[in-house]
């Protein structure tokens, strides 16, 4: 089967799939700066959805609203059937254990070793992991998934940018999340390391069957990883479709993203 036919088939079948994230008419302003102006999207179970937009178009704000880091001004936000705005802290924390978040700058804790970085979320969600006593096998397994088991006792300052990103991904995976949110996973990395990270994201998705929401402005990343794409322009979803569809668009605003 041709790749394009396969993708079209996948998109047709999306409506029958279970939505894991739903955003409707999301608004967020910082003073006079209206960052999100009615953004809407749906992420389906097992899907890789890429949200593309220029810097400052509100991609990171949108994804932070999803995990309750930023309170939206208005709009509907639901993750796995739970409306974020209505959740108390305890329920939100429990829901967060099912959402992995890979931060743009990795956000590894500087004062902790790689092992402690990975153990940190485990200590917070003991019930989910069945009150395990020895965390080492899980830590090593997560690190092996990203090919960095040998860095377990190093400090983040001893790692390169790409290694940090992979350790951050291991930390994200340690709680076996159902959804992973990637905030600019390849930004600041050289093309080879970016490619490695993209391949790793693909392997993770296959191995754990996660649903992924990828925020990026890296066209190569979108091409390899996306099943569906949403273009965010001026705080709204401007256009939606597969990579092939969007890359052939003659709309100047869409074209601008794909020009090399």
């Amino acid at each position: 089967m041709e790749k394009q036919d396969y993708i079209s088939e996948q998109i047709d079948s999306l409506d029958q799939r279970e939505p894991v994230i739903e955003i409707r008419d999301l608004h967020k302003s910082f003073g006079d700066n209206h960052v999100l102006n009615g953004f809407s999207m749906t992420l389906y179970k097992g899907e890789n959805l890429v949200v593309m937009g220029k810097s400052g178009s509100g991609k990171s704000v949108m994804v932070k609203c999803l995990v309750g880091l930023i309170q939206p001004d208005s709009g509907f936000l639901s993750v796995m059937g739970k409306e974020i705005k209505t959740l108390d802290r305890k329920t939100l924390d429990a829901l967060r254990s099912d959402i992995g978040f890979l931060f743009q700058g990795s956000a590894l804790y500087d004062s902790m070793t790689v092992r402690e970085n990975l153990e940190f979320p485990m200590r917070r969600h003991k019930e989910k992991l069945g009150n395990i006593r020895d965390t080492t096998p899980m830590v090593l397994e997560a690190l092996e998934n990203v090919g960095l088991a040998h860095t377990v006792d190093l400090m983040p300052s001893e790692l390169s940018g790409g290694m940090k990103r992979r350790v951050a991904l291991a930390r994200t995976l340690i709680l076996k999340p159902k959804i992973i949110l990637y905030d600019e996973p390849t930004s600041g990395l050289d093309p080879i390391t970016s490619k490695e990270i993209i391949q790793l994201m693909g392997r993770v998705q296959k191995k754990y069957g996660t649903s992924s929401l990828i925020i990026t402005h890296d066209v190569d990343c979108a091409r390899v990883i996306s099943e569906r794409m949403v273009l965010l322009v001026e705080g709204k979803n401007y256009v939606e479709g597969s990579y092939t569809e969007l890359s052939k668009s003659t709309d100047p605003r869409v074209e601008a993203f794909f020009k090399k």
């Binding site: 802290r89 967060r96 254990s97 931060f103």
Partner: protein, 260 residues
């Protein structure tokens, strides 16, 4: 006119900051009383703040004791009152000089350290990563640091006082042929509970002020990496200024309860 408007803006900003700092302080008490408590992190912070300040406080205390005795000696000699030296030095160090100097040193070392550390964690999204992993960052980072400074400062003050008295005794021993035993006997005879208790209580408040300001400045650090420097700098300046305000209130209040 522009000057008036700018002054108005600065005054308004000053009161806004006082309001926010007060709210931050109230939030500390609210979160500190609510389980779960982060004992492991609290102990780590106590070690960092206490143990690592010992040398600095000790050296400063020793020099203060030496200098105070050397500078006062000629004047007391003139009036034939050199035998009052231990009383004078003991009371002045325990009541005022010891707590204030130790607190100012800690404001420089601890408040700036906390401001820079939390500021950098904010800028690199480590605080957000903590929140997403289901940890209350205010409880984990702020409550532990403020409590540790509150607990450690009185101990550091007592340690600094003892070293300062030792420095003074050394000068008296070398210049006035006064034995260490006689010197310390005279000091302890001169000191009363009314000198020790207010000084110790005052040190708790000094510790609270240093921790609160350092955490507040770091936790709400803005403007990227430049903001980290600003947070560290303003933490020291604000904490030092507030220490004098707290000292004035403490002297005033202890004057009511203990006859000074």
């Amino acid at each position: 006119m522009a000057y008036v408007l700018q002054s108005q803006k600065k005054i308004r900003q000053f009161f806004i900051e006082i309001g926010e700092l007060s709210y931050f302080g109230m939030r500390y008490f609210k979160e500190a009383l609510k389980p779960p408590w982060e004992f492991r992190e609290l102990l780590r912070q106590c070690y960092h703040m206490g143990n690592r300040s010992l040398v600095l406080v000790g050296v400063t205390g020793f020099i203060i004791g030496l200098v105070l005795t050397l500078q006062t000696r000629p004047t007391l000699q003139e009036f034939g009152a050199v035998s009052w030296m231990p009383n004078m030095v003991g009371i002045s160090i325990v009541r005022e000089i010891g707590p204030v100097i130790t607190a100012l040193i800690c404001a420089g070392r601890i408040a700036s350290g906390i401001g820079a550390e939390l500021g950098s964690m904010r800028v690199t999204e480590q605080i957000d990563a903590m929140e997403v992993s289901g940890t209350n960052p205010f409880k984990y980072l702020v409550v532990t640091r403020i409590t540790a400074t509150m607990l450690m400062l009185p101990l550091l003050v007592i340690f600094g006082d003892m070293i300062a008295l030792f420095g003074s005794a050394l000068v008296e021993n070398l210049k006035g042929d006064v034995s260490f035993q006689l010197y310390f006997n005279t000091v302890f005879d001169a000191l009363e509970f009314g000198d020790l208790i207010p000084a110790t209580i005052k040190s708790f408040f000094f510790g609270f002020t240093i921790g609160l300001v350092g955490c507040y400045k770091g936790y709400y650090s803005k403007k990227g990496t430049a903001g980290v420097g600003i947070a560290a700098n303003t933490a020291v300046v604000t904490a030092s200024l507030l220490l004098f305000v707290v000292d004035f209130i403490a002297v005033f209040v202890s004057g009511i309860f203990f006859e000074l």
